[in-house]
């Protein structure tokens, strides 16, 4: 009994903002959300009175664990003057604000609300790497944590299967990393807005200042092969395969489609949304794809009537370099087992035919987990409206962009397609 899903009424994005992502000893979750919120308000071309917002949906994964503070919905609604209007926290691990977006869309599509704020926030930098690793592992399935799997460990294990099945190697993962860094270099909000070459030069400079022997890497790959520069985290995942620990916040303003032009002549329309759920590593038939992503993608493509080749740019959930390869295959951009070849051929570069993660992706933009889904949509908002500055993709008639958010070890996945008309 398959039914093509559609929204009860159309929904448009009329504003978006994100804080700078990074490690902020002097800023907390509230400060970061205010930063994103202010930018969102100022991004609404014809202005908006924030008192007209009907409700908030806020993604947060585990500030409970990282900050010993839960219940972030009302904290943020009070902060921005929205209380006593309703605030709902959504939790889907690293896909928490992908879920917030979807719930916000449904709330408007149902006719119940006309204007909804969705967003996400996460504050991770006040904990040690080991503690963050333990906190993130809360999102794996119980069996995995018990036998020592960390998040990088899960993706490391997936990599061994992908390598074995398709003949890819670590060198192919490096292509993803190099591409992400070269995009992030052009993103002032990114945590690491440096190319790999910039990082190499900085390390040489630092060695020179300290009077140490100068490293002599021929190229980016030699740098990434150097175990001193790029140590193993969970083999075959090395430091530069892994997204960083980050703080950050992001938000988008959604309104009913018929009202969109009251706020901007250039809204983005929600044409496809999908969400899927997945299983633990032990229960997956095949560890070279995410069932949840394939389900989410199918739902979104069917709803929109679009095909993977219609999506001109996409942000995909590259929590680890390997994940980017799996994602671009699961979303149908490339055939299974061919994602690594596409990246190697440069097809996913900023100036390629299918730019992926123009923001620098989670790897370089940063991954404050609860804020990531909305921050991906922020990048699509900037790109589709031609406001991405130096990293604006050179595609003529750019109209369709999409964002893919993945939670846990594939347990939750959302896929959202936006259209500029």
């Amino acid at each position: 009994m398959h039914k093509r899903r559609k929204l009860g009424r159309g929904v448009a994005v009329v504003g978006a903002g994100m804080s700078k992502f990074g490690l902020f000893k002097d800023k907390d979750s509230k400060d970061l959300f205010v930063e994103a919120f202010h930018q969102m308000i100022s991004s609404v071309d014809k202005g908006v009175d924030p008192r007209d917002i009907d409700a908030l949906y806020l993604g947060n994964f585990t500030n409970d664990f990282f900050m010993h503070q839960g219940h972030w919905g009302p904290i943020v609604s009070d902060l921005i003057g929205l209380a006593p209007k309703p605030a709902t926290r959504t939790e889907g691990a690293c896909a928490s604000s992908g879920l917030a977006f979807r719930e916000g869309v449904f709330a408007i599509a149902s006719g119940f609300y006309d204007m909804v704020l969705i967003g996400g926030v996460e504050e991770m930098s006040k904990r040690s790497t080991e503690e963050v690793s333990e906190g993130l592992a809360l999102a794996s399935v119980p069996y995995e944590g018990r036998v020592g799997f960390t998040f990088p460990g899960v993706f490391g294990a997936l990599a061994t299967v992908y390598f074995d099945k398709y003949g890819a190697t670590r060198e192919h993962l490096m292509n993803v990393t190099i591409k992400s860094h070269s995009n992030a270099r052009l993103n002032p909000k990114a945590q690491f807005n440096l190319s790999i070459r910039d990082i190499m030069e900085a390390k040489v400079e630092s060695a020179r200042k300290k009077g140490k022997p100068l490293p002599n890497w021929r190229d980016e790959k030699e740098f990434l092969r150097d175990p001193m520069a790029n140590p193993v985290v969970a083999w075959p995942m090395h430091l530069y395969d892994c997204c960083p620990i980050s703080d950050g916040a992001s938000c988008l303003l959604l309104v009913a489609e018929e009202m969109a032009k009251n706020f901007t002549e250039d809204p983005l329309y929600v044409v496809g949304i999908g969400q899927g759920s997945g299983r633990g590593l032990h229960a997956c038939d095949d560890l070279t794809y995410f069932e949840a992503t394939r389900y989410a993608a199918k739902e979104a493509y069917e709803m929109s009537g679009l095909k993977p080749e219609d999506v001109q740019i996409a942000e995909v959930h590259d929590c680890f370099s390997l994940a980017e390869l799996i994602n671009i295959e699961d979303l149908g951009f490339f055939k299974p087992g061919e994602g690594y070849k596409a990246v190697e051929e440069g097809l996913t570069r900023l100036d390629g035919p299918k730019p992926i993660n123009t923001s620098g992706g989670l790897k370089c933009k940063g991954h404050p987990v609860g804020a990531t889904g909305a921050a991906q949509l922020y990048e699509i908002w900037e790109q589709l409206r031609g406001k991405a500055g130096e990293r604006q993709v050179p595609i003529k008639d750019l109209r369709i962009g999409a964002a893919h958010n993945l939670g846990g070890t594939g347990g939750t996945s959302t896929f959202t397609i936006l259209e500029r008309r």
């Binding site: 790497t129 080991e130 503690e131 690793s133 333990e134 592992a137 119980p142 069996y143 995995e144 018990r146 036998v147 020592g148 799997f149 960390t150 990088p152 460990g153 899960v154 490391g156 294990a157 997936l158 990599a159 061994t160 299967v161 074995d164 140590p231 193993v232 985290v233 969970a234 083999w235 075959p236 995942m237 633990g280 590593l281 032990h282 229960a283 560890l287």
Partner: protein, 139 residues
């Protein structure tokens, strides 16, 4: 054979007793390890316990160097990684487990497909006793 519920708690009790147990749907015969209370194939809820032989092959693995605090307590860390993996049992289902007695300083030499046999890792004493599922190379 056993009256225990088809739960994670029972699965772990069996591990304590050095038994790797799964559940089989009496309706359609589908086999699950760890046990499931509801069959994924036919949605049936009539299950029976089945003991796995504890033989299998390595399906996926990783050698973890940035370790959570719980594993630090066992002496693991950046200079002493441990291996976790997915093991495909001879009976068909896959389980996640620690992989013991492999050289984690040379992960390139650990091969997907290598034959493994079960090993039960007991940690702690009395009430705090826990058993972790592990596998080691079949030699």
């Amino acid at each position: 054979m056993e009256e225990r519920p088809f739960s994670d708690i029972a699965y772990e009790q069996f591990l304590n007793e050095e038994k790797l147990m799964g559940s089989r749907c009496t309706g359609c015969g589908a086999l699950f390890a760890p046990p499931r209370p509801i069959c994924l194939e036919c949605n049936g809820s009539e299950m029976e316990w089945v003991e796995m032989k504890g033989k299998g092959k390595l399906h996926a693995f990783t050698c973890i160097a940035v370790v959570p605090p719980s594993m630090m307590g066992e002496g693991y860390g950046r200079d002493h990684p441990y291996c976790s993996g997915v093991v495909e049992l001879e009976e068909g289902p896959r389980v996640v487990a620690r992989i013991e007695q492999v050289d984690t300083s040379k992960p390139e030499e650990i091969k997907v497909g290598m034959p493994l046999t079960v090993k039960f890792l007991h940690r702690g004493e009395g009430e705090g006793k826990k058993t972790f599922l592990a596998f080691k190379p079949l030699r």
